[in-house]
Symmetry: C2
Subunit: 242 residues, 2 copies
């Protein structure tokens, strides 16, 4: 079995908002970037699987944040893949501060797709991702939960532009998250309250499409849904404020 | 006198577009992030000057790109401050590939401001930024040129949102650049043609403002102007395609 991978990093000025604490989307981006680096180091990164027309697609993610780290805090990220099951690979994360306290935990679920045929393929097809690359440590929080549709009380729409898209011509997963945060009242974003985020990436949006970001608040839950102009649901998320 | 500072980095998947070459805004972001890290290492970073209510503000920048590096290329960034004159500090950049070829050169001009009174202050007021921190190497390309207003043939407007703003409640300088690139025809952006960019950051835009991004094409020059809803010019830029 594999060990957890450990990355050292620092909360940089570009990661914080005006409260000088890391933003939620920055913390998620840091985790995803290091997931990519870890997969590459272990031989199943985008470069290794691209030769077979395969790509990793992030399907769902749950993130629990107990404390938002401050600018210039020295942090450690631990990440490991714990399970490959039912076309989903589960990658976990723990973010630890200099005092050894876990401030953030996350579980992400990934599909392997054939990017020419646009279909998910079995994880066994990824022959560089062998079972010895799994780590026996359990997930550090509950996996992403199912999310239902919402009846938005607020909604904004915008066109998908160049800076939204990734190498695959689709909206970058972290841009969906930023778009959803952008409709929240600013006081909620700057409260730095502990939270749990569940997000589900359902359909890809492409350059030139118009997408609409819906939002409603139910008690301590902020609920989001992004719909494309083809009336398909692109992404759903819930932030539970703790 | 100081030596040039050298940072090693790699073009990561998040830095590239669908051509698998680094995006213009990514290359500029990398330079600005490393400028911040270098200023901090040398004792005149945002943290050191904040105690005196001072902040660095990027005023103008010129960037010449001969070749857009590809994903996973190992690069070296050299940066040095060559001059402090007339309230402007000049920081230079050279980006070098593994073969030792300079693929990108840039000159940036910075003001020191009093962020409570919102006025520029003399560089001599920054007592941690002493003349021995200057490097005698000349700028690697011509400094940012003066930019005049334009008569846009295309214009889009949008509201300033949370993900646009920095720790100072203002639109992040690199977001202006992304907004301008977003109005360009996609074929130009993905051409990876050599170019020179001149950009001038004139007034800050704040959360909740509506800004309009104007664009026109004159021969081989793409010209941009961002105007806020207070009818002030926030930013101008020209890309000269070579």
């Amino acid at each position: 079995m594999a060990e957890k991978s450990i990355f050292k990093f620092r909360i940089e000025p570009q990661d914080v908002d005006f409260t000088f604490h890391a933003r939620l989307d920055s913390l998620c981006s840091i985790m995803l970037h290091m997931a990519g680096a870890d997969a590459q180091n272990r031989g199943f990164g985008v470069d290794a699987i691209m030769v077979k027309k395969r790509a990793w697609v992030l399907s769902r993610m749950s993130v629990e944040i107990d404390r938002f780290p401050k600018q210039y805090e020295e942090m450690e990220l631990r990440t490991w893949v714990s399970e490959n099951r039912l076309l989903l690979s589960t990658r976990n994360f723990e973010m630890v501060d200099a005092a050894g306290e876990v401030v953030c935990r996350a579980v992400s679920q990934w599909c392997l797709i054939d990017y020419e045929r646009r279909v998910p393929v079995s994880l066994e097809e990824c022959d560089t991702f062998t079972p010895d690359k799994l780590c026996s440590a359990p997930s550090p929080c509950t996996p992403p939960r199912k999310l239902r549709g919402i009846e938005p009380t607020e909604s904004t729409s915008r066109r998908v532009v160049y800076s939204d898209i990734d190498f695959n011509h689709h909206v970058n997963t972290m841009r969906y998250l930023a778009m959803m945060l952008d409709v929240l009242p600013i006081d909620m974003l700057s409260s730095n309250r502990p939270l749990r985020l569940d997000v589900h990436f359902m359909h890809e949006c492409r350059l030139g499409q118009t997408i609409s970001v819906g939002y409603c608040q139910q008690g301590e839950e902020s609920m989001f849904e992004i719909i494309s102009d083809e009336a398909t649901v692109a992404c759903r998320a819930v932030i539970e404020w703790r």
